[in-house]
Amino acid sequence: MSWQLLLSACVSGALYAVIALSLNLIYGTMRLLDVAHGEFVMAGAFAGYFLVTLMGVPPVLALLGAFALNGLAGLALYEWLFAGIIRRARNTESLESTSLLVFFGLSVILQNGAALAFGGTPRAYERYGRIVHVGGVAITGNRLVAMAACVLAIVAVLVFFARSTWGLAIRALIQNRDAASIVGIDTQSAFRLTCVLGFGLAGYAGAVIGLMQPVSPFMGGQYLMIGFVIIVLGGVGRLVGSVVGGVLIALLETVGTQLTGPNYRDILIYGTFIAVLLLRPQGIFGRRAA
């Protein structure tokens, strides 16, 4: 396999890892079955696009802007919708099925709302378009920036969850919500923080995509699927698993597409996903489902 391919797999791998991390935070911590995650990524992409083109924000800062805007939206949604759903749920199953339908509705609203507001045609902006040579490999500057941005975000998230008190609290909640609240973890505040981080990261990832590809209201679906494939591979609530899974899926996608042709990309991803779910629903690194 050529270095060129490997590098391009690293770019999408880093991006997929961020998306999977954010989805894993939402689903792993709160058990909200977020099937609108692709649409949150799309919202971040539009936020980044408008920050750069309308307000002249430098693209790198626009990534942070997209994080902040999406995080705030996530917080608002938590207060307005999710908190009530979590409070009223009888058990995990009913929480998952209620949240699934609510997020399904949200995804339709976001997708078609965006199409209403911004029109259906894809939009793109051109930044950092220069070709850079790394060793013997050529890569456009924007993809290099995108990869660096994703790696930074991944490191920041992993360090936060390994070191900070709040990070530890959220990890405890992932492991066992009841036990965590018994030992005095403030569940409500931890959930709020998770929403800001999870939806914020989704927006950040969206803005990163905007650096490389045109943004459109209907771009979200594939990222939802990829996010779930990776979570299933890496294990629910396992953050490092999401990073490893993201790189694996990107490698598979890049190599597989190279071998079979671009038309088969979707079949490869969905096929892998179905195969993993059917053969090993607890994930490759996962223990048996809790």
């Binding site: 199953e93 209620t98 339709v108 709302g113 969905y270 059917l278 629903p281």
Partner: protein, 306 residues
């Protein structure tokens, strides 16, 4: 004494109204009404079939369009080779077979994973058909000299009728009780001797056959087959929303939901399709949170309280 509304009486009433209305439409209606009524009948058939597995057993499928598309594809492939009515049967058979094949592995997967799996299967099937068609050099297929709107309306009515009766019969049989037990607590159901695997597969196959034939009606009406359109996730979404709005606990629910949404869509779809979809999403969330047993459950509770 107030007469208690019993499910049997309500369902019989809906059946009677439906039959009279279809007869009236078939004899009297002009083209616009006929188109509306055909749509309505198709949606009733689709939603009643969805509710058999996803409503009663709680295995929510977000990819029901996979059967609509598969049926339509088989119908289009056999078009011109066998008589049209055999094309319908072939579509039904293919969908039943597909459900048998994917049911056994897929239905082992529970809860959230099943839901995501249905999304994945639908997308996979869509992409496979797109690639086959592209490989054959076909970009959409035309169906010439299909059946007229009136025969298609009658077929759609027949499908709606069968779907409604099957859905009602399943709900009020041993099978239905087993499915409800699975929805409430699958492990407990298994422990008390409910043959969960068999019931789930039977329900899955039952819920797959009707949409296959509805897919045939849809392509025969439009005279055009295009995978992106007939496998559209929008179909799956509308099915889910319709059922949640109407109520997923008994056969009358989806009918109420379908009538409500078809009237709304008639008013909005052509003028503002995206606005209509946004409203659909808002309705879905509102019903899930405020009226989780749907219009039908709400009406029944009001009658009981009165």
């Amino acid at each position: 004494m107030m007469r208690q509304p019993r499910p049997a009486r309500v369902s019989a009433g809906i059946l009677a109204v439906g039959l009279v209305a279809s007869a009236a439409v078939a004899v009297l209606a002009g083209n616009a009404t006929l188109a509306f009524a055909t749509n309505l009948a198709c949606w009733i058939a689709l939603t009643e079939s969805w509710v058999i597995l996803s409503g009663y057993a709680g295995y929510i499928s977000l990819g029901h369009a996979v059967f609509v598309g598969t049926g339509a594809y088989v119908f289009v492939l056999t078009w011109g080779m066998i008589p049209v009515w055999q094309g319908f049967l072939a579509a039904a058979g293919a969908c039943g077979l597909l459900a048998c094949l994917i049911g056994a592995p897929c239905l082992r997967v529970r809860g959230p994973y099943f839901v995501i799996l249905t999304l994945g299967v639908a997308e996979l099937a869509k992409n496979i058909v797109i690639n086959i068609e592209a490989g054959l050099g076909m970009f959409g297929r035309l169906l010439m000299d299909g059946p007229g709107p009136r025969p298609l309306f009658l077929v759609a009515c027949g499908l709606a009728l069968v779907a409604f009766v099957v859905s009602y019969a399943v709900r009020h049989s041993r099978l239905g009780i087993g499915l409800l037990a699975i929805r409430e607590n699958e492990t407990a159901a298994e422990m008390t001797g409910v043959p969960t695997v068999r019931l789930k597969i039977v329900a899955f196959v039952l819920s797959a056959i009707i949409p296959g034939m509805v897919g045939c009606v849809m392509v025969a009406r439009s005279g055009y087959f295009e995978p992106l359109q007939i496998f559209s996730p929008q179909i799956s979404l509308t099915i889910v929303t319709t059922c949640i709005i109407g109520g997923i606990d008994d056969a009358p629910g989806p009918v109420l939901g379908a009538v409500f949404l078809n009237v709304l869509s008639q008013a909005l779809w052509e003028k503002a399709p995206q606005l209509y979809m946004v409203i659909l999403g808002v309705l879905l969330i509102a019903f899930v949170l405020k009226m989780p047993d749907g219009l039908y459950g709400w009406l029944m509770r009001r009658r009981r309280a009165a």
